[in-house]
């Protein structure tokens, strides 16, 4: 393992790989700064382009896009009150008021520093936790993987967009989509409508691209009259000593929160940033400032959302369960390159894994530099008229989808999913659960059937497996989490502890 780790880190000395990471960082920042795109959409559109690359550069590109885009959402969140990614929604709350009073540079500087610290912290945790979790996965059999996948699906209830019930319906629909094609155990074709192209099932990339990119294109078509007020900015400023003293605890706390939330299946940067922001407010001595330009609000949200990136890679690499929508795309990238996440990946190809850890660390450093020097320039990408941007996105989406298997059926699936995704979003359903359900669907069904074979069709025997029991309990907790979070949110809104009263 040590030799593999050193080999992986040595791969970063390749100038071509470093150049790729640099280009991907720029690309990620641009993608993240553009409202409506975001890490998941950007990664999904670029995934087909990585098919002809070697595994390390391919996954390095996607991971870098993830890190950089998650940070870059703060740029437009602060300057035009429109988050470039959903993970920056909480940053708008205090970032934009800071910009309105002429402190955009200060807000962006804090966002850049917090994001970098969050990202680096989570990569260090990733490097330690992922191998350990992968070794634990050696004890997993089909029942454990089934219970784990079920836990992953239950976490869909608590992702931020859509209500819990709607998210679970969407996730179950995603699992149902995964049943299209030939049943591997019996060879029977299901839901193929006699079309040979569907015999191998629905590839998740066209669904992802359709549901994220094309549905967003349709959403943008309904917002033609929206006017975004852009705040002018002179330069990004590094936080002052006073700001560091005020925010260091918030940043550390958000690093931990974000990493933990990221590790939970299906959660991700958006949930992490909201919890990070709420906790920053709860622990602040200046609660009244929140919503009006509290620098801790920016720090808490941004440290958490980038901390979630490394955290989300932990279950993705160690167990093959995506920690977020974007890592679901990265998981797809791993599968497309013939890499099976899990303990075998760590034992047989440690150089690959550690190269990815190193890549994410370097990406954080790069977007720190780019953010400080070029945030003002990157903000100008929002000047690209939608009438030009979205046709470009459409063409890249179509061509990328087609290039996967050179099948025009994938393009039709993508178009259909684009319309379906829009309808779902209009009626309050999130499309993220569909994507995660589709990716986990085959695992859920296969491990369920294998388990039933093991247990001679006695499902009660699932509960004789201690690790599976733990995941079942976590599943129940995951399903109850929205209720608990709703009660906590109502408690916070009604005031919470008064200032001056100590916490017990």
């Amino acid at each position: 393992m040590l030799e593999g780790a050193l080999a992986g880190l040595a791969a970063l000395l390749d100038p071509k790989l470093l150049a790729l990471i640099f280009a991907a960082t720029i690309g990620g920042v641009i993608i993240g700064a553009l409202p409506g795109l975001g890490a998941t959409t950007g990664a999904a559109i670029l995934l087909p382009f990585t098919v002809t690359m070697e595994p390390i550069p391919a996954i390095a590109l996607l991971a870098t896009i993830y890190c950089a885009a998650t940070y870059a959402g703060a740029i437009t969140a602060i300057l035009i009150n429109t988050p470039g990614t959903t993970a920056a929604a909480a940053t708008c709350i205090d970032g934009y008021p800071l910009a309105q009073r002429g402190e955009a540079g200060r807000a962006l500087g804090m966002a850049t520093v917090s994001s970098t610290m969050g990202g680096m912290f989570s990569v260090l945790v990733l490097a330690v936790a992922a191998p350990a979790l992968a070794q634990l996965a050696y004890k997993f059999g089909p029942p454990e993987y089934f219970a784990l996948a079920l836990f992953g699906l239950s976490m869909l209830a608590s992702i931020s967009s859509g209500g819990a019930i709607k998210n679970l319906i969407a996730g179950t629909f995603g699992v149902l989509l995964a049943t299209v094609g030939m049943d591997l155990m019996t060879g029977v074709e299901r839901f193929t409508f006699g079309m040979p192209e569907l015999t191998e099932g629905i590839h998740f990339i066209p669904v992802l691209i359709g549901m994220f990119a094309l549905s967003e294109l349709l959403v943008q078509s309904t917002r033609m009259n929206m006017i975004m007020e852009r705040i002018a900015m002179k330069a990004v400023q590094l936080p002052s000593r006073a700001d560091y003293l005020r925010t260091w605890k918030t940043i550390l706390r958000s690093c931990g929160i974000g990493t933990f939330i990221g590790v939970l299946p299906a959660e991700g940067a958006t949930v992490a940033s909201m919890i990070g922001y709420n906790e920053a407010k709860r622990w602040s001595k200046n609660k009244a400032e929140f919503g009006k330009g509290a620098i801790e609000g920016v720090a808490g949200a941004e440290a958490a959302n980038n901390a979630a990136t490394g955290g989300a890679m932990v279950p993705t690499l160690a167990l093959g369960i995506p920690g977020s929508a974007t890592t679901a795309v990265i998981l797809g990238g791993l599968l497309v390159h013939g890499l099976r996440p899990g303990p075998h990946l760590f034992n047989e190809q440690p150089e690959f894994v550690f190269a990815i850890f190193g890549t994410m660390f370097v990406a954080n450093v790069m977007f720190f530099g780019l953010g400080l020097m070029g945030a003002k320039l990157f903000a100008r990408v929002t000047l690209i008229p939608n009438a030009f941007l979205w046709p470009m996105v459409f063409m890249l989406a179509v061509v990328g989808t087609y290039a996967l298997d050179q099948s025009i059926m994938d393009v039709w699936i993508m178009l259909g999913c684009g319309v379906l995704g829009f309808v779902m979003r209009r009626f309050g359903f999130s499309v993220v659960p569909v994507a995660i359900g589709l990716i986990l669907g085959e695992l859920v069904e296969t491990t369920f059937k294998q388990s039933m074979v093991m247990f001679d069709n006695n499902a009660w025997l699932f509960f004789t497996r201690p690790i599976a029991d733990i995941f079942f309990l976590l599943t129940v907790a995951g399903l109850c989490a929205p209720l608990i979070m709703d009660r906590l949110a109502r408690r916070w809104r009604s005031g919470g502890p008064e200032e001056g009263q100590g916490r017990s």
Partner: protein, 168 residues
Amino acid sequence: MGSTATGEARLAPLRERLRHAWQVPLAVLLFCAYVAYLTTTFERVPKALVQGVQPADFPLLLIGVILLLTAVLVWQLIHNPDPPRSRLPATFFVTVGLFLAFAGIAAWVDLFAGFAVFAVGLSLAWGERRLVPILAIAVVLPLAIFLLFDLVLEIRFPRGVLTSLYYD
């Protein structure tokens, strides 16, 4: 009469909520019914081979879960209705029309001709009037994408009126 009027007043908000609460559950119900019907068309495998789980069983289990969740959703929508949805503007319908136009042109004429029509149509529909940038997006970008994919990534595109000029 007075108590009837009071009862009517109490029922009016509930009726209003019920009016809006049926759309999504009905759509889900119809979808589930259709999928359940489709599962009846699957081949059945002899018990000795299938070891207890027929090909239709798992999809039916999922349908059952969706229906259960939808029942909860109905209750939720009655007590906590969705916010009203704004009317969709004309640009949305034009955009969907462009999707269909692209699909038709890509299937029967040429993929890249479809791109050109889509790009011009979308730019104009979304308010852009500068002809030179529109033409650049409609002509230059598809050409650049085609050359990149053909020469660098060695992807063969579906044969159409335009691509055949290159391939032949």
